[in-house]
Symmetry: C2
Subunit: 354 residues, 2 copies
């Protein structure tokens, strides 16, 4: 164990606007969270950066309340409960979380450390990086429309941040799942008009949400436009005036909906994002690592969990846990070059204080 002195909080205080730490972990999913613990057991402090606003990664985004059956020692555990326990297990090591931040730039410093700069301007300076980014950052699926980009963030939105922003608007909501239904139902009382566009006659959402939407249609508060799909946008200077839709049946009828706002809800897709430009060896969107160390082709940058690939790789959370331990041990000589790592059972060693 390192001296308590070498870990004094002052050593980690911001220097200028740059925050110093031992290890920067990119991704706060289950595997990133467990990496905090494994680093902590070896005496390393961590900063954790994630593009989502909450910890939990895919579990939080996709199946927070579903039971998981293959976490060792848990015959069944709800996703979000697993995340809560992993956060609790990491907490004694006082990790610093930067949530809602995407790592935009990674540069090597003169003293052989790394500087990570996020979308929100946070700068973290670390000796090693562990990428635990799962399938990458989640991004909305964008409809394939000409000039879409010109309207994004002014008239086209992929999420509702504040309901009030849509008061008195004429909305086109597109999609057939829970998000499209839930926002139709929720915004009906605020909006001036809602067109709900779906390429099929039937919806995939919860039956309760479908009934609620149907009632709003019957009450004349929502106009159902099915089976249609988005076809073109009309407007100028980022301001939408109309959305053109086209029938998906054999008539292929074209209709123009007078609207000032489009909310497409076509689900999320994972994007590797800027990580793809860090000079790491990739194999079909996965980062190639040495399985014995989880180090990438760039010394000092490690990758663990679903984002990695190597011979025998399984996309199982429990294998990511093991990779977190492997990476932490492989980082040890970088951070403590003069210290020999002695193996101890956690039951004998306890949890060190950082």
């Amino acid at each position: 164990m390192p001296d308590a002195e070498t870990l004094e909080p002052s050593a980690y205080a911001a220097e200028g606007d740059e925050q110093q730490t031992d290890v920067a972990i990119v991704g706060a999913g289950p595997v990133g969270l467990f990496a905090i613990f494994e680093c902590g057991m070896l005496g390393f402090r961590c900063h954790v950066i994630d593009s989502m606003d909450v910890a939990g990664g895919q579990i939080a985004a996709l199946y927070p309340e579903k039971p998981i059956y293959d976490i060792p020692g848990y015959p069944e555990i709800e996703g979000i409960e697993l995340i809560r326990r992993l956060e609790e297990q990491a907490a004694p090591f006082r990790p610093v979380y930067h949530l809602g931040e995407q790592v935009r730039e990674v540069t090597r410093t003169e003293d052989e450390r790394w500087r990570l700069t996020t979308s929100g301007g946070v700068r973290v300076n670390a000796k090693a990086i562990i990428i635990a980014a799962g399938v990458g950052a989640f991004a909305p699926n964008r409809p394939p429309l000409d000039d879409l980009e010109a309207f994004e963030d002014t008239s086209v939105f992929y999420m509702v941040k504040r309901r009030e922003d849509f008061r008195g608007k004429r909305l086109v909501i597109a999609g057939g799942g829970d998000s499209a239904l839930d926002w139709t139902n929720s915004l009906a009382e605020l909006a001036d008009k809602i067109f709900l566009v779906h390429r099929r006659d039937t919806f995939r959402g919860a039956p309760e949400s479908v009934s609620q939407m149907t009632a709003l249609v019957e009450a004349g508060k929502v106009e159902l436009v099915v089976p249609y799909q988005l076809h073109a946008l009309e407007g100028e200077d980022g301001q939408l005036h109309g959305v053109v839709v086209r029938g998906t049946d054999k008539d292929k009828t074209i209709r123009r909906l007078e609207a000032d706002t489009l909310l497409p809800f076509y689900g999320l897709k994972a994007k590797l994002g800027p990580i793809a430009e860090w000079g790491l060896n990739l194999d079909r969107n996965h980062i190639v690592v040495e399985p014995g160390t989880c180090q990438t082709n760039v010394p000092g940058i490690f990758a663990i969990g679903d984002i990695t690939t190597y011979e025998g790789k399984l996309k199982l959370i429990l294998q990511g846990f093991s990779e977190a331990a492997v990476a932490a041990h492989a980082i040890h000589p970088l951070l403590r070059p003069d210290e020999r790592l002695k193996f101890e059972y956690s039951t004998a060693k306890g949890v060190p204080t950082l």
Copy 2:
């Protein structure tokens, strides 16, 4: 998933005196138990063989009630509780346990399967073997005495199976730890005489056990022989008549204790045992495996957990869990050569019924 039909119980009934299964797991420690689960998730049935009388391996033998801190998702868990939960997680796959049995012989059958024969004569026929034997079978440390073997199991015992066997006996109990103290205290009311021999003046056991022993000495029920060590055995035809001890101080006094039974409690040591003779590549008592499959140099024999070695190997339970998943996936093509393994989240797939 295989058809339910291919897994009908009848397929696993004993054929003659040989029990058929998919996978034979050697070792019922935490990693062996989780291997049952991982095999089960892929549709394989398992038999599990362990030399100890209970499941749990090193945890049960060495630290059942100590907290473990590095099981992912458990900030703290008592060893034996972890074992209980792993057994529960494995239970839906109806494993067959052969406890208190040591695998003595492994032979290849004509149809490219394996036959394992245990110390108790159990014969298991399996397509693949997973060795999860930890540090090997636990065996008592034996005192270095001439002719010791001639008295073992008749007058010399390393464990007490039935207290009644020692009623009316004249016992020499040797050792300075908890086992020596606990059995001295426990057998004092049954035995005709107990000599407690220890090479030091002080005992390592729990203070409460030491006080209880001291009280028995004061009451004349136990005779303390310290600082002495075992020196020689006297007797014939396996029947002990006396135990010769020798002072460990500078006088080196020799004493003869009239006794018919010796119980040496010098702790347990791990022995690889017959596994060392299975033709597997070993490196300092560890089995060399391919990390991508956990397969040994013998096709069809896999090894996981503390008994393995490969580049980057850490002796952590959580890494053994990952190896259990790797081995199960690597076994899949042996058992289901015509089936392509499709990856599914456990949360989507659930726990299959075998």
